[in-house]
Symmetry: C2
Subunit: 117 residues, 2 copies
DNA sequence: AAAGATACATTAGAATCTTATGTATTGGAA
DNA sequence: TTCCAATACATAAGATTCTAATGTATCTTT
């Protein structure tokens, strides 16, 4: 899925769709390369998406009706912009909420206390 | 990996080893079936391990030197108890810490605020 | 006597990722 | 001016990790 500097890669499995959908929810429209850079930036260099994971995921989300695309030529290079469809927006919300519930459940199972930040 | 009632199964990928090691860290020794029941109990019914995921994982953790085993006959039924090796104990600690770091990183990427519980 | 719970295990197939490879343009440094 | 890094897309073989199905056997409850 991604190259991750500090963490066990195993833990990251299954989170890529959630990340992509939430980023698009926050930013309106983004293209693939931009997503890889934004993730690196937000995670402070800890998480680096690989293209081999990202592009197939974007294609699948589009095929499933969660994303719409728009090709734009910038300079001499093509960019393929992705944007949430209404269904995709609903799913972004759902997946992010599920992630919160998931961590809460894991805290119960792992017997670790929620942080007091 | 598991049957999970409420959450997207994708999110759970990669967490099974962490769960198993942490449970053994908390409980000394446990057998496979007991682990499935304890997880169901701790997660309040939200997470149910499947045998097809659990047993291969236990075998792999043993092969990797993280767990030692002990067979005990109780009634007419065999139980195979698992216990952390010193290396396994270190890894349990490491994996649980990594899980915390992982959720912290995901919160940054998903732009969600830590809870104030 | 049958069904559900306890207790182990394996396997085919699906999903998801890693690693490697490929194409092409732009911009900056040597 | 030439070459390398960055930008920007994409695919594909193989590995890993799970799900769902199946199998064996004992104990307990109805």
């Amino acid at each position: 899925m991604y190259l991750c500097i500090m963490y066990s890669k195993e833990l990251l499995k299954g989170t890529l769709k959630t990340i992509v959908l939430q980023l698009l929810s926050d930013n309106g429209r983004m293209y693939g390369y931009e997503i890889t850079q934004r993730v690196k930036e937000l995670s402070e260099g800890e998480l680096k998406l690989t293209e081999g994971a990202l592009y197939p995921t974007l294609h699948k989300l589009e095929a499933d009706g969660f994303l719409s695309t728009e090709k734009v030529k910038v300079g001499g290079r093509m960019r393929k912009y992705y944007r949430l469809t209404p269904v995709g927006r609903t799913d972004a919300f759902r997946k992010t909420n599920e992630f919160r519930s998931f961590t809460a459940m894991m805290e119960k199972v792992l017997n670790i206390k929620p942080r007091l930040t």
